[in-house]
Symmetry: C2
């Protein structure tokens, strides 16, 4: 695992170095100052690293996919800037969000510009399959928008079908990981089978990660504030699963609590009890474990390489099984 961290830290530094110079322009300042602000904010850089490792896992050199990796990370940051406006979030990575530090018009414009910059990096990729690569990237954007729309629709609803909810988290969280893997795989020269394997790996990774994140909120006492999702009445996997699987009485109780203006510590305890009794926690843990197992199984279908081992370590790292 140490070697894994050494390698991905090197990748991350390389990515951060490139992103700090995402454009050589500084004017118009009202556009480029926030662009540089966003792109120098740091982050785990999971998505671009996934591009590089996917490329290597099928026999390519990471270097070949570097521009595409940067494109994916720029695109990810576009979604963060616009989602922060939509969700009225003031802080991100310990700093003010763009619409807070500047204003909403600036944040809208900067997000738009990041999409353009993302494509400009993607198009630097030297590949005979550049059209395919652009197609996948473009589908990714459309699905991200669909995912965000579904998420917003669910905010005010209590009749959420679990499969529709899973569709939402796949589009909101997994799709960009899947796009990252698929593009990395193409650049690395993957055959159609390897390409499918890496997409499936990322789908499982993304979906497991999202549900794991919901579980961490109620399982850990350190880090994230305990039960903060419930306090914010978020439509998590746990909530939606319980809605669909709890008894009628428990369901009514859940809906009643989520209609209140404020959620007390007692309410949180009641909700957790329902999550327990409806089998939600057991099922959530089962789904996360099944996802991790499936993701690992996909990797095992690839040739034995350092990159494959790194992808396996990445899975464990992201899913917080190791640190």
């Amino acid at each position: 695992m140490d070697e894994f961290f050494t390698r991905i830290n090197q990748y991350r530094e390389q990515i951060n170095h490139k992103l700090a110079a995402v454009s050589n322009k500084t004017t118009p300042e009202s556009f480029y100052a926030p662009v540089h602000y966003v792109m120098s904010a740091g982050g785990k850089r999971i998505r671009p690293i996934l591009v590089l490792l996917s490329c290597e896992a099928v026999g390519g050199r990471a270097e070949q996919s570097l521009n595409a990796a940067l494109a994916i990370e720029i695109l990810h940051n576009f979604t963060l800037v616009h989602d922060d406006i939509m969700d009225h979030d003031d802080m991100r990575r310990g700093r003010q969000t763009v619409h807070e530090k500047w204003d909403e018009a600036t944040a809208i414009l900067v997000g738009d510009g990041l999409v353009g910059l993302a494509y400009s990096y993607l198009l630097k990729t030297n590949s005979a399959q550049i059209k395919d690569i652009c197609d996948i990237f473009t589908s990714g954007i459309i699905e991200l928008c669909e995912g965000q729309a579904l998420d917003k629709e669910f905010e005010n609803r209590f009749d959420i079908d679990l499969s529709r909810y899973m569709e939402m988290i796949e589009k909101k969280t997994a799709i960009l990981l899947m796009t990252a893997s698929e593009i990395g795989a193409i650049i690395g020269g993957a055959d159609s089978n390897q390409r499918r394997i890496l997409v499936e790996f990322s789908r499982q990774l993304g979906n497991a990660f999202q549900i794991q994140d919901d579980l961490i909120d109620i399982e850990l006492t350190s880090g994230k504030t305990y039960g903060s999702d419930i306090k914010q009445k978020k439509k998590t996997y746990l909530f939606v699963h319980a809605l669909n699987n709890a008894s009628a009485a428990m369901r009514d109780s859940l809906i009643h609590i989520y209609h209140q203006n404020t959620i007390t510590t007692d309410d949180i305890a009641i909700v957790l009890d329902i999550f327990e009794k409806s089998g939600t926690l057991t099922e959530a843990r089962r789904v996360v474990d099944a996802g991790i197992k499936q993701a690992h199984a996909e990797l095992m279908k690839l040739p034995t390489t350092t990159a494959r081992s790194d992808l396996a370590d990445m899975l464990d790292w992201i899913l917080k099984r190791k640190s």
Copy 2:
């Protein structure tokens, strides 16, 4: 001219027919309902028609460039949806803007999705030069963002350099026409010279159109409300030119008036008088005429075709010399 209108009406109908079915999806409804609303709003469809005519003018068939034409129009609509939020505009083409009819979050998301849809149409283009085409389209997006940023920066400033202002209108207005022409030309098989000619044609067309629009606001008594730009204290070409060319006393007077909360009919008369005395109106008319002449001259360098004649008629039509 009748034949010109017959032909472009046919093109427009074909474009509208395709745009009415911009996506075959209807869910998530909160995303696709406004997408369809925007794309069925009509409009002159100048940009996509420019793609088709540019393609034909260099020997291509309009049909080859239809998907790219749709891409350009979808991209144009993305800018309208986001600009309307930034500019707090409630109405567009006689209907509520997206953020008014739905809400801001929806309008942000729909604009984002339109960028994705625009690329998805562009990528349907069957051309060996698809990478070039995507490069030009992508540069267009970045420049549009720069133009919008400059425009916003100018809103609160009075030290606006005229050449910087011209850069802004070129990026805000002309760039998408230039992008349309260049992509149409490439698809039609243009050589590098023809490509440059058509880009230059559209640059002249776009810049002349923008300044003409400013002149119409103070010259016509029908249609647009007389002097409405002054009433709204818009930083038009006329205002910026006068700022740069009027006497110190007139300049102070202009700045004084544009600092007032409300602009009276008397103020409008004073501003117009300054536009007249500073030579601004004469210069604006000269620049428009020079642009039209230059655009015509560019066209004359192309082979004699129906499309070339249509482009010449389009120039006259857009610049309201004929109707």
